[in-house]
């Protein structure tokens, strides 16, 4: 199964201007200084990167892995649709 985690980490590092190796799957977003607006921006960038469009659901995103999981669900749905 495709995982978006490396891309999530890469884009998050770029957006927050921190080294990518300081971000792990279990790192909490709040600890990185990523507030709700930063997460909205990040998801927009991920949508552009993966050419997907997320729905209106509001998942509880606490850790970096939560974002990757959220994106991965859409990537999986797209793969099934193909």
């Amino acid at each position: 199964m495709t995982t978006s985690l490396p891309t999530v980490i890469e884009l998050l590092a770029k957006r927050l201007d921190v080294p990518a190796d300081t971000i792990q799957a279990q790192t909490e977003l709040e600890a990185l200084g990523a507030d709700s607006l930063a997460v909205i921006e990040l998801i927009f960038d991920l949508e552009e990167t993966f050419k997907i469009q997320l729905g209106d659901e509001r998942p509880n995103l606490v850790k970096v892995q939560d974002i990757a999981d959220h994106i991965d669900r859409y990537l999986a749905d797209r793969a099934e649709a193909v």
């Binding site: 957006r15 927050l16 990523a34 607006l37 930063a38 909205i40 921006e41 927009f44």
Partner: protein
């Protein structure tokens, strides 16, 4: 008991002339122009059009992670505001002090480039959506809000949007706010960053923009000159830290000058054509508030945008206000060098006026080789004048929509 007196303890400015209030002032004294041919990002250009565009790398004022929240307008605003805050020496505030601290900010078009980028995404690129921070970065009060957030000022945070008087109005209203005891201090000023293809095209359609003299775009803005050709758009931000006299004295701050007069009026005659009577009412109101007679003003930083209608109206309104003393006044338009920075203009020119008062050095009206015969005041043509004893100075700002603002500063101490 507060005296109601309002003093200035910090200045900040960023414009095509450079970053820093002092830098801007020194460049105007040198008669240097920040005007070049406009270079817009992207393929859409207005070739041959002069503009006072900031072309140097801006100071790093905002963390990378917060940059999506900032339009260029708010970025310029924070650069100027943080300079004024720094110069004031104001440290951390307790809750009570924070609640007595406000931000009064002016801008004509706020986050113009953010709004335009959204339209490009939707209508040109054919995308179905825009960047998520388009509202937060594009809203007109974004600069005011970001400044308050960063300063942790928790009193009134007001945004003024009255075209070219926006930031002069913000400073004047901040003065009244402190004068009447609603706050101890206000970071006041304004910013404008609307050099985008769409906005510049709109101004060009109004047929008020000066063309570039052959090979010399830097000489495009020539207020009060016989060969004037219109205004030159610019981008900038400027700020002043205003405080009650008691607040400044309590913390031992260096007082740069005292803001003693604010006059405001509206022509109510025409949406764009200036009216000498309306302008004179603003100047007279500022003088009354200051308790000063006309002969006590040594210098006026004119609105002086470089249009025929504007130059003639302001020359006439100064004569109406000052009578026989008008001929003794030094009047200059620094727009000849930093362009017309619209919503930021009042604050930028006020910051220059304060430094003129403090230093006794008067910036010239650059490129004024031959005055319009109908403009017969002393416009400090071409060369700065040093060693002038100036007790009080006025800064004029007039706007489309008929709004007029005059501010008067006086030496302190």
């Amino acid at each position: 008991m507060s005296s109601g007196r309002v003093v200035i303890t910090g200045l900040g400015a960023v414009s095509a002339l450079g970053a820093g209030a002092r830098c801007n002032f020194e460049r105007t004294l040198e008669g240097r122009s920040g005007i070049h041919l406009l270079e817009l990002p992207g393929k859409h250009q207005r070739p041959g059009l002069p503009a006072a565009q900031i072309r140097y790398a801006l100071p790093e004022a905002i963390p990378v992670s917060e940059q999506p929240l900032f339009d260029r307008n708010a970025l310029l605003g924070w650069i100027a505001a943080s300079e004024a805050l720094g110069q004031s020496g104001l440290g951390a505030l307790d809750q009570q002090e924070a609640a007595a601290s406000g931000v009064f900010w002016g801008t004509g078009m706020g986050g113009a480039s953010t709004v335009e980028a959204g339209y490009v995404d939707l209508f040109v690129e054919g995308k179905s959506r825009v960047r998520p921070m388009s509202v937060v970065a594009g809203m007109n009060n974004a600069a005011a809000a970001q400044i308050a957030l960063r300063c942790q000022f928790k009193g009134s945070v007001n945004n003024y949007s009255s075209a070219c008087v926006s930031s002069a109005q913000a400073i004047g209203e901040a003065y009244r706010h402190i004068h009447h005891g609603y706050a101890e201090r206000v970071l006041a000023g304004g910013s404008e960053a609307l050099l985008t293809y769409g906005v510049v095209s709109a101004w060009e359609a109004l047929r008020v923009l000066a063309p570039s003299p052959a090979g010399h775009p830097e000489r495009a803005c020539r207020p009060f000159a016989q060969n004037r050709a219109g205004l030159v758009l610019g981008e900038a931000a400027a700020a002043v830290m205003l405080e009650s006299l008691e607040s400044a004295q309590r913390r031992g701050a260096t007082i740069l000058a005292e803001l003693v007069g604010y006059g405001a009026s509206n022509d109510s005659t025409h949406i764009t054509k200036p009216d000498a009577g309306g302008q004179a009412r603003a100047m007279a109101m500022a003088l009354r508030q200051a308790g000063l007679a006309g002969h006590e003003i040594g210098y006026i930083n004119a609105h002086g945008a470089g249009t025929a209608a504007g130059d003639l109206a302001e020359t006439e309104s100064i004569k109406q206000t000052f009578g026989a003393d008008a001929g003794k006044l030094m009047v200059s338009s620094t727009k000849s060098m930093h362009g017309h920075t619209l919503g930021a203009a009042g604050a930028l020119e006020f910051v220059l006026t304060v430094q003129t008062l403090m230093s006794g050095s008067v910036p010239p009206t650059a490129f004024l080789e031959q005055a319009d015969p109908q403009c017969d005041l002393d416009y400090v043509a071409l060369q700065a004048r040093h060693g002038q004893a100036i007790g009080a100075a006025m800064s004029n700002s007039f706007a489309f929509g008929g709004s007029n603002v005059s501010l008067i500063v006086q030496r302190h101490g």
